[in-house]
Structure formats: C-alpha cells, structure tokens
C-alpha cells in the first residue's frame, strides 16, 4: 500500500524515458508502445487516486534525500489525481482516435518523433499536476511549450507553420512573464517550494509596503499563464492554432495543454500565494471580468466565423473564460466549479476536435459550413459523436456542460456580492444562448440533406476510433449524471489541496 506513494514519481520519470525510447523505435512500434504505456499510466494514477481516497489525506514525496525547503518535492492529493486521470484518458483517446489523420498529415518516417513528443508532453503534464515547487513548474512548462509547438508543426503546411510561429512567440512571452513572476516571488521570500513560500508570503502581506510588490509578482505570473492558456484579450491565436493542427494535436492542445497551465496557476494561487493573501489583491476581480468578457466575445466570434474548426476553437476561448471566471469568483464553490469545468471541457473539446475532421472528410476535406451540409448523414457515427459534444457545450442536461454551468450558477449565488452574481449570471445566460445558437445552427447544417443521395460515403469506422469516442462519451455522461459524486471528490481534493 505504501508503495503507491512512489507512483507519481514513476509517471514522470518513465514518461521522460518513454519519450527518449520512442526516438529509437520504429514508427509502428512507437505507436503501440505509447498506447500501452498510457494505459499503464492510467492504472498507476487510478491507484494513486484510490490510495489518497482511502487514506483521506494528501502525501508529499521528497525527490531525493533533502527535505522540503532545500530539495524538490511532489505532492499528490485527490484533486491532482483526478486531474491527472482525466488528462491521461483524454490523451490516450486523442492519440488513438486521431491516428488515421496523423498518418496522412505527417511523413511516415517521422511518426515515431510524434510519439516522442506525446510522451514528453505526458511527462510535462504529470509534473505540472504533481509538482509542489514553482521552479519545477517553470522547467516543465518549458517542455510543455516546446512539445506543444512540436505537435502543432508536424503537418508541415504553410498555415500550420504560421500558426506555430505565432503560438511559439506568444507562449515564450508567457513563459518569460511567468519566470519573471517566480523570480520576484523568490526574491521576496527566498523560497521556491510552495508551502514555505506561502508561509513567508502570509507574513509579508501584513506589511502594506510589500503587498503591492506581491501584487505585481502575482499579476505578471497570471498574465503569463493567461496568455498561454488563452484568456480573453489573448485568445486571438486559438483559431489558427487549433484549426490547422492535425486532429490529435488540436485535441491535445485545446484539452490538455491549456488546462495544465490553468491548473498550475490555480495551484500557485492556492498553495504558493495563499487564498487569504489573494483575497487582498485586485487580480481576482480582473480575472472575473476578463473571464466573463471572454465568454461573450468568444461566443460572438464563434458565430461570426465560417469555418467549423475555427468555431470550435473560438468556443474554446469562451470555455477558458468560464474557468477563469470560476477562479475569479473565489470561494470553495467557485474553485469547485472551475475545476469541474477543467475536466468537463477537456473531455468535450477533445471529442469535438476528433470528430470535425471526419465530418470534413466526407465534405471533400473542406471545413466551410456551406460544404458541410449533410455531412453528418454521410458519416452518421461522426455526426452522432459531434452531436454529443455539441449538446454538452450548449449545456443540455445529462451532459457534462450542463453540470458545470449549474456549478457556476450555484457558486455565484452562494458567494457574496450582488455585482458578482449579476456578472456571472449575465455571462452564463448570454453565452448559453449564443452557444445554443451556433451549435444548433451547425447541427441543422450538417443534418440537412444536401441533395446528392450518396449517403454511405463513410460507414466504416475503425475500432480505434469507436473505443476512444465511447470512452469520452461515457466520461461526459459520468460528469453530467453523477455530478454530485465528482463535486464531492473535488471538495475533498480542495480540502487537502492547500
């Protein structure tokens, strides 16, 4: 039983090793190895989740012989294990379901390099989830940045290269700002580990002369991570990045990479800065307002665009807005809603990005709406999965999207302040309406017969596609139907998170 505490370490070190190993393997072997390995990781993380639930408390794991303020540390609780499990499930589904497109988008001789990047990305994601140290967070943030640019660029067409360059520049800017924030915090406190840093900051915050400096450091760090994850004024890179990437990469980038940044930010707030200090800083109001604006602006831009992938990408901008709004809202309810939405959105968005290329495929490879007419009739399976994702995004009951909207509304009502209730409720109402508008329009479009009777263009889908899609659908329904269970788990996780 005690041995399970080693598993978080294994998920990181073995992923790094797998990345290097895939560089040596043949492409076919690398694919099989990666899928088996991700499955193995899911088992490990499930064991960790079971262990922390059974013991009822989080555990810290010293990396090496030197304890907390001197050496590195990782820490696992219910929330970390849940997020890690969700990330891994989405990862294995994306790799499996998008492989058919990967083969055509990328030169076959280089496919093993893609799996190298996927494994390194897994290592970075796992480290960001488990880490208890701000600088470790920065190092693996760099690996995540590089791998995400790498998986984006594999398509080697002009549009992706352009998108990748822009994505890389913005991401490096974000990393730089995050590093600047970490340096300022280190200068103030003399610690990089989160728990001692929090104690020192709580002490420092009582001095009114130092509080603004803490505010600047936290602000810069927040701007850096919100550029990387695509909060409202910084969301303009999303449509090109997600829209032109190969489907697996689009799913990985939108569902996992941006969520990992948000999770790191949340962890920094909760564990390194401390909620009490955060309450004294104006940054949470800014996050609330920007989140709410992002929801509305993202939805409006999604209506405006004429390209299915761009629409889904803009809807991502809106969903990221939800998460930041939850963090800005504050309180246990707000954080619960934000974390719930991290999982709900990761599961739903990857499903959407993995179905849109199949809809486009039967429409002659075109993602423009006028060409997509009737595409769901030609490939009913993809149409079905797209419908589920769209329903979840709109917020129709029994799907994950509904539960998370419910959580946000509950959080707004239980939290104090009429202004905040108003902002959140307005954002929820407007965005639900707009979401319904563009997703229903899309659904009507793809289910309208286009006149030509060639309905069985693509009836056969491989099991490699069905299985992950069914898994994502099941996860979606689990989040939607057993929302109380998940919220309960997140509550337990938050209690042991700080």
């Amino acid at each position: 039983m005690e041995f399970i505490t080693n598993f978080p370490l294994f998920t990181i070190v073995l992923s790094l090793f797998s990345g290097v190993l895939c560089y040596m393997l043949k492409p076919r072997v690398a694919k099989i190895y990666t899928l088996v390995y991700e499955g193995f990781l899911i088992l490990l993380v499930s064991a960790v989740l079971y262990y922390v639930l059974a013991t009822g408390q989080a555990f810290t794991y010293v990396m090496g012989e030197f304890p907390a303020p001197w050496g590195n540390e990782i820490r696992a609780g219910v929330l970390e294990a849940m997020i890690a499990l969700c990330f891994l499930i989405v990862m294995i589904c994306s790799v499996s379901a998008g492989f058919r497109f990967l083969k055509t988008d990328m030169d076959e001789s280089k496919l093993n390099l893609y799996f190298t990047l996927v494994n390194l990305m897994t290592a970075a994601l796992m480290s960001l989830v488990w880490t208890n140290d701000l600088f470790t967070g920065y190092v693996f943030l760099e690996i995540l940045t590089l791998t995400s640019c790498g998986v984006l660029i594999v398509r080697e067409i002009g549009r992706t290269s352009l998108a990748a360059v822009r994505y890389m520049i913005l991401n490096l800017l974000g990393s730089g700002l995050f590093l600047l924030g970490v340096v300022l915090l280190y200068d103030l406190t003399g610690h990089l580990l989160m728990v001692p840093m929090k104690e020192t900051i709580a002490e420092l915050a009582t001095d009114p002369a130092v509080l603004p400096v803490i505010g600047v450091a936290v602000g810069i760090l927040t701007i850096g991570l919100s550029i990387k994850s695509g909060l409202f004024p910084f969301h303009f890179w999303m449509p090109d990045t997600y829209g032109w990437a190969t489907p697996t990469s689009a799913a990985l980038l939108s569902s996992l990479v941006s969520k990992a940044y948000i999770f790191l930010l949340f962890k920094t707030y909760y564990r390194a800065i401390g909620i009490d200090v955060l309450q004294q800083l104006p940054i949470r109001h800014v996050l609330l307002v920007l989140g709410a604006m992002g929801i509305v602006v993202g939805s409006l831009q999604a209506i405006h665009t004429n390209n299915l992938n761009h629409m889904v990408a803009y809807s991502s901008a809106a969903q990221i807005g939800y998460i930041y709004m939850g963090i800005g809202l504050g309180g246990v309810a707000g954080y619960t809603a934000a974390m719930f939405h991290v999982m709900a959105h990761a599961i739903t968005k990857s499903q959407l990005f993995l179905t849109t290329p199949r809809l486009a495929e039967v429409a002659g490879g075109n993602l423009k709406f006028q060409d997509l007419q009737g595409s769901a009739l030609k490939t009913r399976v993809a149409g079905f999965y797209f419908t589920i994702g769209a329903f979840s995004m709109i917020g129709i009951p029994i799907f994950a999207g509904f539960s998370s909207k419910l959580q946000f509304a509950l959080a707004a009502v239980t939290g104090a302040g009429i202004k905040r209730i108003l902002i959140v409720m307005l954002a929820l109402a407007v965005s639900s309406m707009l979401n319904a508008l563009y997703f229903v329009m899309t659904l009507i479009r793809i289910y309208t017969p286009d006149g030509d009777n060639n309905r069985s263009v693509m009836t056969h889908h491989h099991i490699n596609y069905h299985l992950p899609m069914l898994l994502l659908t099941a996860a979606n329904l689990l989040l939607g139907l057993r929302c109380d269970l998940i919220v309960d788990l997140i509550g337990k996780g938050l209690a042991m998170f700080g």
């Binding site: 080693n6 370490l9 090793f17 990345g19 290097v20 090496g64 030197f66 390194l120 140290d133 594999v154």
Partner: protein, 265 residues
C-alpha cells in the same frame, strides 16, 4: 478607418509597455538591494553554502545545487534540449513532405558544394590548431564540474562548438566517418536514459528512506560528488549532440549522411 485603428492600437501598445516598465521598476525598487542580505531568504541559501560540500561532496556548490539538491529541475532541463532537437528534426529533417517539387533546389548537391567551406585554407589551418585544444578544454570543463565552475551544460556546449567547427573546416564527409546519425541517436538515448534512471534511483531511495549506494568520494578529487560527475558527462553528451544536430539539420536537412534521399536524386 483601418489606419486610424492601427494608429490607436500602436498608441495603446506603447502606453501598455511604458506602464509595464514603470510597474516592474517600482517592484524591483522594493526588493532587497543587491549585496544586502535578505533576512527571509537565509534559511535555504545558508544550508546550500555551509553544508553543501559535506552533503553533496561537490566543491562547486552550484553543481551540488543543480545536480543534487534540486536535481529534479535539472532532469527536466536536460530533456528540454532533447525536445528542441526533436522539434528541429520534425521541421527540417528531409522527408517526402518537405522535399516536394516546389522546394527543389534547396538541398541539391550543387548548393552543398557551392557553400562548402572545407576548401578554405585558413579555416582548415586554424581548425588543425584549434580543434584539439577545444575538445580537450570541453572535456576538462565537463569532468571538473564538481570541482570548479563548469559542468555538463558548459562543457557540452564547448564540445558541440568544436564539432561544428570540425564539420565546417573539414566537411561533413569527415565527420560522418565517425559521427553518424546512429551514433548521435545512441549517445543521446544512453545519456538520457542513464540520467532518468540514475536520478529515479536517487529519488526513490531518498523518499523511501533506503540506503543510497552511490559513494560520495573524497571532496576535491575528480571522483567526488557522488552522481554529479556521471550526470555531468551525460548532460554534456546530450548538449554536444544537440548542438551539432542543430547545425547539421540547418545546413543539410539531416544529421548523418542521408542515403535514402541522396540515392533518390
């Protein structure tokens, strides 16, 4: 309309930058001054400085810090380089997609010979004199990481630079005789795998309170600092391979001599 917007946009950008500069200057002015001891940051630094030699066995405290106290960060850092190498191979490595017809003439033989530096007499002569020194110096810095300033990253960078000069002065054909893609792959794989497992072993034993069987050695000697020396060598190998790999990929689109594409042409 559009022009007015752009002007407005530029104005806002400048104002934002000035604001950011002001805020940062203000924040920095509030920090403890340079050279002045920060009363709060003593705890961590003190142990590194005072007990570092005893606990890690490294005379060079920086090496002890990055490879022993905070080895997990460095484990990630060494994989950053590897990730960058993979990205460059994906982008620049010759394959069917980026050797499409419209790119004809980028990697042709004429182009290669036109830019051949190997016939340059001055470069060659300087290479003869400089290269042995460079390799020796790189190895020295690599092996003395635990004793003096230096270590894997800097020593590896010097050796990588030496490899690049080697390729520039004597041509890729000469380097390809010893340093093929297979060698680079093998060295990178062995180094990084060794790094991961050695550090994984230390993390595992440390966290579980088991005995660590790596001898610390006598401080001040070459064989000291426990795992620091082998880890430095591993990091140095990765850095050298990565740097040479970048150079080779940027110049000819492959790391070793690429038979498949040359034969097709």
């Amino acid at each position: 309309m559009k022009k007015a917007f752009h002007r407005f946009y530029n104005l806002i950008a400048v104002i934002c930058c000035l604001l950011l500069i002001g805020v940062l200057l203000y924040a920095v002015s509030m920090l403890p001054h340079y050279g002045q001891e920060n009363p709060r940051s003593v705890e961590v630094v003190e142990r590194y400085v005072h007990d570092g030699l005893e606990e890690t066995g490294a005379t060079n405290i920086v090496a002890g810090m990055i490879l022993d106290y905070r080895a997990f960060d460095t484990l990630g850092e060494s994989h950053v380089l590897f990730t960058a190498l993979i990205c460059v191979i994906i982008l620049l490595g010759k394959d069917v997609k980026n050797m499409r017809r419209e790119y004809d003439g980028y990697y042709t033989v004429e182009y290669e010979s036109y830019h051949k530096l190997a016939d340059d007499k001055i470069l060659r002569l300087v290479g003869y004199i400089l290269l042995p020194c460079l390799f020796l110096f790189g190895i020295y810095i690599l092996l003395n990481g635990q004793l003096s300033p230096g270590g894997g990253f800097s020593g590896g960078a010097i050796m990588g630079a030496a490899l690049i000069i080697f390729a520039a002065a004597f041509g890729f054909e000469t380097v390809d005789k010893v340093f093929t893609e297979k060698v680079l792959k093998g060295v990178t794989f062995v180094s990084l795998a060794f790094y991961s497992f050695a550090k994984g072993y230390v993390f595992f034993t440390g966290a579980n309170g088991l005995e660590n069987h790596v001898p610390k050695g006598e401080p001040g000697m070459i064989l000291s600092g426990g795992l620091i020396l082998p880890l430095d060598i591993a990091v140095g190998m990765v850095v050298a391979c990565t740097m040479y790999g970048f150079y080779s990929l940027f110049r000819r689109g492959s790391i070793g001599h690429d038979h498949t594409f040359m034969d097709q042409q």
